[in-house]
């Protein structure tokens, strides 16, 4: 019966946060474990992801920790974080001609972009406000909300002067001449990046599958750490193909510049993030508490409710 294929629907973010998943898929590790992967789909918003999880459209997802908290607390979807993929992996890109330091952000002519409320980047924005004691209300009023690829495009088109981006976009931005003046590392030590979440139901009914997923993820992380060059190439390929889905039609010359290069991915994977499956439950608790503090979830809860570390061990 072990040979029997179990079909599994997994959602993956199309950034290198989920590098291990992309590698596993490219190397057909899922199939080798007898898992048939049906959907490997990108969900733009947390709501879409939560809906998909709640509806049963997907069983597992590689997503950032922060939105996973929303999915659990706000959408009431019973999920468990079973494995981490990396720490850090977010930053603030600026146009160096316009923004020299953080306090420049408060200048009225400076336009800032960030992803939507309740995202990891939005939390970092708030952390930044706290750390640099900025006028949060005023700053937030001029923040434009848009998805990461759009932030990069807008920076390039000179429509914004600063923007919070997740990894690989920050690295790509640096190559395009922008400066990452702030990293997750500067704001939140040990900040958990992406994680693998599964529906509780899956743990209850098929713990062995969850075990395999965690195993594959760990194998991916190990591969990145041991063969960064090959890993980068694989991930760059995967994201380029997928990138066409995010930006399905190449419009004009600008989009062409957004091509994902392996050297960017390598820099991103090796320098910007710490690839590890380990999860520090106290950091998770910090993230939960911080979400509650920002009013993004109604009230804090115990990190143990959402984290299930049995499978990592």
């Amino acid at each position: 019966s072990k040979k029997e294929e179990i079909s599994l629907r997994i959602a993956v973010e199309f950034v290198d946060h989920a590098a291990s998943a992309h590698i596993a898929r490219a190397k057909k590790w899922f199939e080798k474990e007898g898992l048939k992967i049906e959907a490997f789909d990108n969900y733009i918003t947390g709501m879409a992801l939560a809906s998909a999880l709640a509806r049963g459209d997907i069983d597992a997802a590689y997503i950032c920790m922060i939105p996973a908290i929303s999915v659990y607390a706000n959408a009431g979807v019973r999920i468990k974080v079973v494995c981490g993929t990396h720490k850090y992996g977010y930053g603030l890109l600026v146009n160096p001609e316009k923004v020299k330091n953080i306090s420049d952000l408060m200048k009225p002519e400076i336009r800032i972009a960030c992803t939507r409320e309740g995202s990891s980047l939005d939390c970092l924005l708030n952390k930044m406000i706290e750390k640099y004691k900025l006028d949060g209300e005023e700053l937030k009023r001029k923040v434009l909300r848009m998805p990461p690829p759009m932030i990069l495009l807008c920076l390039k088109m000179n429509k914004i002067d600063a923007g919070f981006c997740p990894e690989q976009f920050t690295t790509m931005g640096e190559r395009m001449g922008f400066r990452e003046i702030l990293k997750a590392q500067d704001l939140w030590s040990d900040m958990q990046g992406s994680v693998l979440v599964v529906k509780e139901e899956l743990i209850e009914k098929h713990p062995e599958i969850v075990k395999k997923l965690v195993k594959i993820t760990k194998k991916g992380i190990k591969f990145i750490n041991e063969h960064p060059d090959e890993a980068s190439r694989i991930v760059a390929d995967a994201l380029t193909v997928a990138g066409q889905k995010v930006l399905p039609i190449k419009v004009g010359k600008v989009a062409a510049k957004l091509k994902i290069e392996p050297q960017d991915i390598k820099k991103s994977l090796t320098i910007k993030m710490i690839n590890t499956s380990e999860i520090d439950i106290s950091v998770i608790q910090e993230e939960i508490d911080y979400m509650a503090k920002l009013g993004y979830i109604k009230k804090p809860f115990k990190a143990e409710e959402i984290v299930d570390l049995r499978f990592i061990k």
């Binding site: 947390g46 939560a50 509806r55 706000n74 923040v143």
Partner: protein, 248 residues
Amino acid sequence: MKRINFLEFLPVIFLIVIWEIAGRLRFISKELFPPFTEVLSEFFLLIKNGILLENFFRSLIRVLAGFTMGSVLGIFAGILMGWNKYLGKALSPVVSILYPIPALGWLPILMLWIGINELLPIVIIFICSFFPLCYNTVCGIRNVDKDYIHVAQTLGASKIEILKHIVIPLALPNIFTGLRLEAGMAWRVIIAAEMVAIPTGIGALMMRAESLIRMDIIIVCLLVLAVMTFLFERIFIWLENKTIKWRT
């Protein structure tokens, strides 16, 4: 206006009860399909902490500003085009071309031309009210029975007097039809605009709620919207009945 009968509300109450029960049955999670009472309590919470009202007033002000300017200028342009044959001939093809462009379609252009600021939603609402009102006004004015105009002439009225005392008053029903339809439409458009581009207002609140997966807030916003659209249309029906008493 029709008198409202309690019995007419029965089906609505029935609907709410069904909703409440379905929500409590949790066939999806309670959070993704919150029962009516939870939505209600969230509504009061949002009222209490001021978030709903703040965003609501922002949307309201945009709608009011854009709609007032758009409809006033639209009516004005319509009067000019309906009354002056040449102006009408010259401008109506232009209006017929611009009229069918969805107001929201202007958004990307306007984002570039005006940038993202408080003017943007107002201009969009302006566009969404201007063309239909211009169009309706022209129709209303052209439909005024020529007999009235001729008689007024024989009674010694100049063109401008006829316009003032006969043509515009008689075109009012058409103008009000336009106002009524577009008042509802303005709310629909402002929501869409706020969802897409503007970081405040009910539409933005909805988007934020969406990204935080707060279905209860979304439903609160929807209900506020439904009520506002309904109210705005009603206000104009009421105003129409007040103004055009002579129709009865």
